[in-house]
């Protein structure tokens, strides 16, 4: 059949393009548990929990955002790119950076880097690891949503 080499090209394309897209879709889910069923088979992914609070994956969305109507997940960066040192917003509200904290500050795990004001109630933004604050993605006074990336701490080795 004349189509055989074309079909092989298709197979290669599928392996290179389709499968990674599917895997990305799986790893992008922020669910603690993810079950995929197709015809007769079933795959279950379960995330580990590192303590009392489940490790919910942080949101990447700038907020408020306009989700792309057609690309269901395209507007969310893959979760696996998120390092352990990501500083996340604990709530939806207005962010204030703590006095004295700047890019370059040495911080310890649990240090308060700022607060999110939720109707007058202050929710603490804490460093997830010991290290150096390498980036701040939000300024004081800016609105943040739950799970939004506020900054990044590079863990000290």
């Amino acid at each position: 059949m004349a189509g055989n080499t074309d079909e092989r090209a298709t197979i290669a394309h599928l392996a290179d393009e389709v499968v990674p897209a599917l895997i990305e879709r799986l790893s992008n889910s922020e669910l603690g548990e993810l079950e995929v069923r197709q015809d007769g088979w079933r795959v279950r992914l379960r995330r580990g929990t590192d303590g009392a609070i489940p490790t919910v994956q942080p949101a990447q969305t700038t907020m408020p955002h306009k989700p792309a109507a057609v690309a269901h997940t395209a507007d969310h960066a893959p979760r696996r790119d998120q390092p352990k040192g990501r500083v996340k917003s604990p709530a939806v509200g207005f962010f204030t950076l703590r006095d004295g904290v700047t890019v370059g500050s040495k911080v310890r795990s649990g240090d308060i880097l700022g607060i999110v004001d939720v109707l007058g109630v202050r929710q603490e933004v804490v460093s997830p690891v010991d290290g150096v604050l390498k980036a701040l993605e939000v300024e004081s006074g800016q609105a943040v949503e739950f799970g939004q990336a506020i900054g990044r701490v590079e863990a000290s080795v």
Binding site: S29, E30, L31, G32, E33, L34, E35, V36, R37, Q38, P54, V56, Q57, A59, T61, M63, P64, H65, K66, P67, A68, A69, H72, T73, H76, A91, V92, G93, F94, V118, L119, V121, A143, V144, E145, F146, G147, Q148
Partner: protein
């Protein structure tokens, strides 16, 4: 009119409200939990804002998170949908205190209608026959005493919320005592409130409810009734309108007295008055739902009205767009709740990936659903996947069309109750229009499913 509405809900109703906003030219901002990031409402909304983790208590049920999101997103109103914070007068009060509008009754109205016993007394005063019932039950002894006054069988009901959770019918003091504990814990888990009360239970009753709309100027209309007698453990499965159980005279009396009573009692917003109907066609008011309801599309299909846009208009202080004389009920509509639950396995809820979703279509068919092929149904919330609503010029045609639509509907990848609906459409009691609320539980869903499919 509002310029930006925060939608504090999820699933099909969030999508329904996004659609209403679009039609009205209002910017929609969907407040979502982390588990709903890939939901259709989030995709379709003009904007979306994550308010918390999957757990409802920290997202959809968190008044501070929702309100903070509304403020942060620059919204001027909040639509609470149904369930969650939709009938919470404290939340409505907080919303107003922050200068935003709660799309629902005012806090005062919500408070006035918050107590079910109080509402019964209030509406009885305004002419509605009501079901005998108790006030809030302080303890088991109080429950016993009240039950003795009302007489058995009686129904234990939770003061907060609906949907069958924390509800039990009891036939004796012994059954009452046993059920109280279960109901308290179910109610606490479902609504964060274990208050219970009692209601007289009518044997072989039907559940009929009246849709009303009342604006801030005291203009009130009814938009016909819905019959929700097909229930499983007090959860509605199929709703239809008009009710096959009412004569024209009974219907006119029910509708007119319902709207007259709520207007006189100072209600405001869209709302639903629920009634029990006995075998003789006598009706007894049981409670009012101060919010949009799951089954509102039944009314939309037979009236041509858009109840959600009317609700938004009322909240914005506009007068109703219609007078009673403008409203004409045409034909018959039936709604089927499509749930992710295993009818063959005690209705265990399911979750997972929808591999294939193919909606039915054609004249008179409407589907309100947030499903799409590839959607992950999160395991954290209720099992409602969507609603199939079918209209026909008469009940018989609506049923024939429903049968065709249910055969056509494909939901692949998660377990659903579609087979139960198909079975119900082959059931003679349903077809005759004589379903009572206890029938499905008495006969058992399994028996319905085993019924050979009726010839099309």
């Amino acid at each position: 009119m509002f310029s930006r509405i925060l939608i504090a809900n999820r699933g099909e109703i969030a999508l329904r409200i996004v659609r209403a906003c679009r039609r009205m030219g209002i910017t929609s901002v969907v407040a979502y939990s982390e588990a709903d990031r890939d939901s259709r409402a989030v995709q379709l909304a003009d904007e979306a804002i994550c308010v918390g983790p999957a757990e409802s208590r920290r997202s959809y049920l968190s008044a501070p998170a929702i309100l903070s999101a509304a403020i942060v997103a620059g919204c001027d109103a909040i639509h609470p949908g149904y369930g969650f914070l939709s009938e919470d007068d404290t939340f409505a009060e907080m919303t107003r205190a922050h200068g935003l509008t709660f799309i629902g009754p005012s806090p005062e109205v919500l408070e006035r209608f918050a107590s079910k016993a109080g509402t019964r007394t209030l509406l009885a005063k305004h002419g509605l026959p009501t079901i005998p019932g108790s006030g809030m039950l302080r303890d088991d002894a109080h429950a016993m005493a009240e039950a003795d006054k009302i007489g058995y069988p009686a129904l234990i009901k939770p003061s907060a919320g609906g949907g069958g959770k924390g509800m039990r019918m009891v036939r004796s003091a012994r059954e009452l005592q046993q059920a109280m504990t279960i109901c308290r814990s179910e109610a606490l888990a479902a609504f964060g409130d274990d208050s219970l009360y009692l209601e007289k239970w009518l044997e072989d009753n039907r559940h009929v409810e009246v849709q009303v709309m009342v604006d801030k100027f005291g203009n009130g209309v009814h938009v016909g009734e819905r019959d929700c007698s097909v229930q499983r453990r007090h959860q509605k499965i199929i709703e239809e309108g008009p009710s096959p159980a009412l004569s024209p005279g009974q219907r006119a009396s029910l509708l007119d007295s319902a709207v007259a009573a709520v207007v006189a009692a100072g209600y405001e917003n869209v709302g639903t008055l629920e009634f029990l109907l006995d075998k003789e066609g006598n009706y007894f008011f049981i409670e009012i739902n101060c919010r949009i309801q799951v089954e509102h599309p039944v009314t939309e299909m037979i009236s041509g009205l858009d109840i959600v846009t009317e609700q938004i208009r009322i909240a914005a202080g506009e007068p109703l767009s219609v007078k009673q004389s403008d409203i004409e009920i045409r034909g018959h509509a039936i709604e089927f709740r499509i749930n992710a639950e295993d009818a063959e396995n005690d209705f265990q809820p399911g979750a997972g990936r929808i591999e294939t979703y193919l909606a039915p279509g054609g004249p008179g068919v409407r589907v309100d659903s947030h499903m799409y092929s590839g959607y992950e149904v999160p395991p954290y919330y209720d099992s409602l996947l969507g609603k199939l609503i079918v209209w026909g010029p008469d009940r018989e045609t609506a049923i024939a069309r429903s049968r065709a639509a249910l055969e056509e509907l494909v939901v692949d990848g998660v377990v659903t109750n579609i087979a139960l609906h198909r079975a119900l459409l082959g059931n003679d009691v349903f077809l005759s229009g004589e379903f009572t609320t206890n029938l499905l539980d008495r006969v058992g869903s399994a028996a319905f499913m085993a019924t050979p499919k009726a010839a099309a």
